[in-house]
Each structure stands twice: as structure tokens, then as C-alpha cells.
């Protein structure tokens, strides 16, 4: 473990910014919320904050663009792909535990297994992640309910924890180690007690998370109750207010579903990949045939089952890291935690 003071940290970021596009969390004045912003020039923006919790936006857009061209055809090279050079490197500062974990989950789908998505893999490899402890949590945060901590444990290049007038720094990858050793002059050995300061701060956030979520059930134990509630009427009640906007899936860091569509560009054709949402009617509807989830209740339900039942079977983990963004964004006020509570109370009967 190393220590870096704030001035040297800015120096380090400046250096890093020469290698790619630098993104940091900046506080929005009116709301106090953090947004990811690109740093085009130094000094660092005034509202930048290492403290706080996750940004409004997820990090998934760095690895999976909202919309991107994945093929142009016909082509002399056929399916031989040259990508890499034209994809920029991103340095993302203050990735929180829930977002780092979410990217690791999506990696399992997009990169692991029989096929890999080369576009996703390369973009992901080009991300340099400086993760940070949450020093607070939001009302909707529930990482404690999905068995996670509000500080990053793996999946980062560097991880920083605010102490005194600087940060404790841990390395989590070869790239991270290289960066620290190449810039050894910016770091010092942590002072006695700094680690304890960090741990105390962490425990405070955990205590707040527990207090905030004390009325809600342990989400890691939802798979069985959900299965029992598969055909329960509660899904129609839960979905009654849903307006099918798809905001919950767009803002979710583990929602990765996409659609491919083709366009005409002169005498060539372009294949485009675009984010998609299982909450909208047409998502699974088939040409000339039925729709496996025709009712809104089926679709609202699908979001829960995909994350808490299907993906744990196929990919070994719950695909929800408790960031709570879906709760913040839902205009219908659907709160995943409250839905679980309902499911549990039905199960108890």
C-alpha cells in the first residue's frame, strides 16, 4: 500500500491524461449529484469530488457504446477485423465498487465463453480504472443487500481511499503496479494509523447502508422466493405503474442487452449495435409469430428473473450490484428492494 497526497495525485492524473481520455466525477451544483465528466485541460475541474458515492451515469457506456458500427459489408477483408488503434483509451477516476463489479459481471457475458465480442473486449482492455471507496451512500444504494461492500475489492488498476490530505493507494493489476513504480517519487509510505482511518470510514458507510436498508430482505436469498412467485399476481400489481420507458435497463450497469440492425450507406451496408431494453414491447416479439412476454407484467418480471435467477444459473452470480440507479430513475417508483419485500411476504404465506 502507498500514500499519495492530493497535489501529487493531480500530477499523476495529468501524466495519465497524456495516454488517453480522462474522466472524473464532478458535483452538479443544483443537485449535489456526481456526474462523469471528461477533463480536457488542467487544473482538475473545481467540482471534482473523490468523496461521495457512485455517479448518476454508469461506466458501461465506455465498453459498450450506446450505438456503434460493428460491421460494414460487403468488404474485401470479409470478417477479418482491424480494430484497436481508433478506439481511445479511457482513464476513469472514482469508479465505485458497484460499478467495477458490474463491469466484471458483464465481462462474463461479452468476453467469456465460446464467443467473444471483440469490440467490447478491446474497449474494456483500454479502460484504466482508478476505483475509490464510497465515503457516503445514497438513499437508493443497497450494495450491502447483494452481499457487497462499498469499497472496491478487485477489478481495478488502482484503488484509492481518502485519508488525511491524500489517498491510500492499492494496485490491482500489472498496469497499476507499473504506473506506481514508474512514478515512485509521487508516493510515500503510509503513516501509522492511516489504514485504521480508512477502515473506520468504511465501517461508517456500511453502518449507514445497513440502517437505510434495514426494512428490506437480503437480496442474495431472493432466487428461491422469486421462483415460487413466478406465476404470482404480484407482478401485475408491480407493473401497473410502469410506463415502459426502459430507463431502468438503460441506467443499469449490468444490463447489457443489445440489438443489431442494418442500414444502407450508398452501395455499402452498415451493421449497427445499439442498447436495447427488455422492458419494451417489441424486444422479444418475433416476425409473424408470438411474443413470449406480451404483458407488461411479464416484462417487468423478466428484469428481476434475469438478474436474480437466470444469470446466477448460467453465469454463477446475481447480476445486480445494488447501485440503486433503477430506483432513482423509475418514474413509476418501482423499487427493487420493495418488490423483494413483497415477494418475501407472499412467500411467507
Amino acid at each position: 500500500m502507498q500514500f499519495i497526497d492530493s497535489t501529487n495525485f493531480e500530477r499523476l492524473l495529468k501524466k495519465l491524461s497524456g495516454e488517453g481520455e480522462l474522466f472524473v466525477p464532478v458535483t452538479e451544483e443544483d443537485t449535489g449529484k456526481l456526474h462523469i465528466e471528461r477533463v480536457e485541460a488542467f487544473p482538475l475541474p473545481e467540482g471534482m469530488s473523490v468523496e461521495g458515492f457512485r455517479t448518476v451515469e454508469t461506466l458501461k457506456g465506455f465498453a459498450q457504446l450506446l450505438r456503434s458500427t460493428v460491421a460494414e459489408y460487403p468488404s474485401e477483408e470479409l470478417d477479418e477485423l482491424e480494430i484497436g488503434e481508433n478506439i481511445p483509451s479511457y482513464i476513469v477516476v472514482c469508479a465505485r465498487a458497484c460499478d467495477v463489479a458490474a463491469m466484471e459481471l458483464v465481462d462474463k457475458v461479452q468476453v467469456e465463453g465460446e464467443f467473444e465480442d471483440p469490440f467490447y473486449r478491446i474497449r474494456r482492455e483500454k479502460m484504466f480504472l482508478i476505483a475509490a471507496d464510497c465515503t457516503d451512500c445514497g438513499d437508493s444504494c443497497f450494495c450491502n443487500l447483494v452481499g457487497r461492500n462499498p469499497w472496491p475489492e478487485k477489478g481495478y488498476d488502482l484503488a484509492i481511499s481518502k485519508v488525511d490530505a491524500g489517498y491510500l493507494v492499492e494496485t490491482g493489476s500489472e498496469r497499476g503496479e507499473k504506473l506506481v513504480s514508474e512514478n515512485a517519487d509521487l508516493f510515500t509510505v503510509p503513516r501509522d494509523g492511516q489504514e485504521k482511518t480508512r477502515d473506520d470510514a468504511r465501517m461508517k458507510v456500511v453502518a449507514k447502508l445497513k440502517e437505510n436498508n434495514k426494512d428490506f430482505p437480503d437480496a442474495t436469498k431472493m432466487t428461491e422466493p422469486l421462483r415460487e412467485a413466478l406465476t404470482d399476481g404480484l407482478w401485475n400489481d408491480e407493473s401497473a405503474k410502469c410506463v415502459e420507458c426502459g430507463a431502468c435497463t438503460n441506467i443499469c450497469p449490468t444490463c447489457y442487452c443489445f440489438l443489431l440492425y442494418d442500414t444502407v450507406e450508398g452501395d455499402k451496408f452498415r451493421r449497427v449495435m445499439s442498447w436495447d431494453s427488455c422492458q419494451v414491447t417489441g424486444y422479444a416479439r418475433m416476425a409473424g409469430m408470438g411474443n413470449p412476454r406480451p404483458r407488461l407484467g411479464d416484462r417487468v418480471k423478466h428484469r428481476f428473473y434475469h438478474k436474480y435467477d437466470y444469470l446466477p444459473i448460467s453465469h454463477g452470480e446475481i447480476f445486480c450490484t445494488g447501485c440503486g440507479r433503477c430506483i432513482d430513475t423509475c418514474s413509476a417508483g418501482i423499487d427493487m428492494r420493495a418488490v423483494f419485500k413483497n415477494v418475501m411476504s407472499k412467500a411467507a404465506k
Binding site: V70, A71, Y73, P74, S75, L78, D79, E80, L81, E82, I83, V109, Q110, G113, E114, F115, E116, D117, P118, L230, T231, Y256, C257, F258, L259, L260, Y261, D262, T263, V264, F269, R271, M273, D276, C278, Y283, A284, R285, M286, A287, G288, M289, G290, N291, P292, R293, P294, D298, H306, D309, Y310, L311, I313, S314
Partner: protein, 275 residues
């Protein structure tokens, strides 16, 4: 690096009109494509998009591939407009294919309806490669009317291949040109039509419209098949073909990876399983 989203350049060599709404396209991709019976391809109509189809041709032939297509939506409408020489694209194969190994030494009941006969033809080619490996091969094909029975020109040839092969066809409603059996395909699954199949030592495989799959499944269960002995070619919307885009799930399975043929035992608990 290979781009899994690139549709391999392919020429339409020939178009065979099977029925008023079904055509078979003979496709020649720039490089051979190896597939197993029951695996599917994503077929691109340039600028229009992709749709999934299971080849209807003999899997041992890799230079050419036949895909039999019902006119049913945006991509298939555009396909039906195409003639020889047209350029299309292919990605794949995707999915698992039929469980041919499991069928060895068993009675095999093949039930196809409408355009569902198409993927079943690839299965039949697979079985016909050595019919002696199976006990009986009992084939039941149904369609709404005689004109909708694809591959009729081949039926007699198939029947003649080996003694253990039988093929019975049926149409839904009486028709002046038809002297064969009349009734839904489920009616030829009554015991007297089953050629003495030993149901406990048999597998049934079916492909067709969802509503037909549903009633075939119910019938099979009624005559004594157990869910693990039933394989169904399921339909879901597909996009990536690689288990990544998320849309083709049936319960926790992705049809594009785990199917499209699924053992009924694995999916019977899924609500709306038949769409």
C-alpha cells in the same frame, strides 16, 4: 481477429418454390460453412437485416447450403423477392443442433408441421446417413393444405431408403386433390398410426409453429412420452446468435446457445413457453 457480426458474402444460386409461401434458397457462401443438423444460421438481406434459419440441407455438404423460408416478416418478405445471383450474407452456425447421439438404438418419432418441415429435413439427412443405427424412424408431416407440404417431391425417395423408415402426411382440412389422411398432425400421433413404436425406448422431435408444438407436446405426453424424451425446436427472436444480446431466452437458457432444439423437460416450467 474475426468479426462475429460480419455476414459472410453469399450468393443465391437457385430458388425453388416449395409452396405458395415457402421457398428454398440454394446458397453458396465464399467459403464453406460446416454445420450440424439443427444448428441455425443468421441470414442477412443486405441493408434489411438478419433473421435466423435452420438449414434444410444435408449437413455433410459444406460448399452449398439450402435454407427453406416462409414469407412472414420484414426479412423474409425481402428474401422472397430475391432470385438467382442475388447477394446475401451468412453468420453462424449457432446453437447445439439435434441430439443425434442420443437417438442411436432408439425408435425415433419426427413430427413436423408447416415450414417446420425445413429444419427437420436436415435432421432426416442426418438420420438417413445410416438408418440402421436407429430402430424405427417414424415421420409425421402435417400442413394446412396439400400445396403447403414442402419437399413432397422427395417423400417417396425417403420411404424407399430403408425398411425401418415410414413417412405419413396429413393435411388439416379436406381438399379435392388429397386422398391421404386428413386432420391436424396430432391425429396421426394416435397409437394406431405409430407403427408399433416402443414409446419407452423412443425419442420424439418436433418442429413447427408454436401452437402446433404446444398441441404436439400435449399429445406426446398423453400417449406416454415423458418430458425428457421430447425435443422441441423453439422459436424466439434472435439477434446476436452468441448468447450476448439477451433476447432469445427461455427461462435461463439462451436458445441461440442452448437450442434451438430444447428438451421439453428443461423448459416445461417456463410460463408462456410456447409463446
Amino acid at each position: 481477429m474475426k468479426n462475429p457480426y460480419y455476414p459472410i458474402d453469399t450468393v443465391v444460386e437457385d430458388v425453388i418454390t416449395e409452396t405458395p409461401t415457402i421457398k428454398t434458397f440454394v446458397l453458396k457462401p465464399v467459403r464453406p460453412i460446416q454445420f450440424k443438423a439443427g444448428q441455425f444460421m443468421q441470414l442477412t438481406v443486405p441493408g434489411v437485416g438478419e433473421a435466423p434459419f435452420t438449414p434444410s440441407s444435408d449437413p455433410s455438404i459444406t460448399e452449398r447450403m439450402e435454407i427453406t423460408i416462409l414469407k412472414t416478416g420484414k426479412v423474409t418478405d425481402a428474401l422472397h423477392e430475391l432470385g438467382p445471383g442475388a447477394k446475401v450474407g451468412l453468420r453462424g452456425p449457432f446453437g447445439k443442433g439435434y441430439p443425434l447421439d442420443k437417438l442411436v438404438g432408439k425408435d425415433v418419432l419426427v413430427v413436423g408441421g408447416g415450414v417446420g418441415l425445413a429444419p427437420m429435413r436436415a435432421l432426416l439427412y442426418g438420420l438417413f446417413a445410416d438408418p440402421s443405427k436407429y430402430k424405427k424412424i417414424v415421420i409425421k408431416f402435417g400442413a394446412r393444405e396439400p400445396a403447403e407440404l414442402s419437399f413432397r417431391r422427395q417423400f417417396d425417395e425417403w420411404r424407399a431408403l430403408a425398411d425401418n423408415i415410414s413417412l405419413q402426411t396429413t393435411i388439416d382440412v379436406p381438399h379435392p386433390d388429397w386422398t391421404g389422411h386428413v386432420g391436424l398432425v396430432t391425429t396421426v400421433l394416435e397409437t394406431e398410426h405409430l407403427e408399433g413404436i416402443d414409446i419407452v425406448d423412443s425419442y420424439a422431435l418436433s418442429c413447427g409453429p408454436e401452437i402446433m408444438l404446444k398441441f404436439v407436446t400435449l399429445k406426446l405426453l398423453e400417449i406416454g412420452y415423458k418430458p425428457p424424451q421430447i425435443y422441441l425446436s423453439m422459436n424466439r427472436k434472435m439477434s446476436c446468435g452468441m448468447g450476448k444480446c439477451g433476447r432469445c431466452n427461455v427461462g435461463h437458457y439462451y436458445l441461440c446457445v442452448d437450442g434451438p432444439d430444447m428438451c421439453y423437460d428443461k423448459i416445461k416450467h417456463v410460463p408462456n413457453v410456447f409463446g
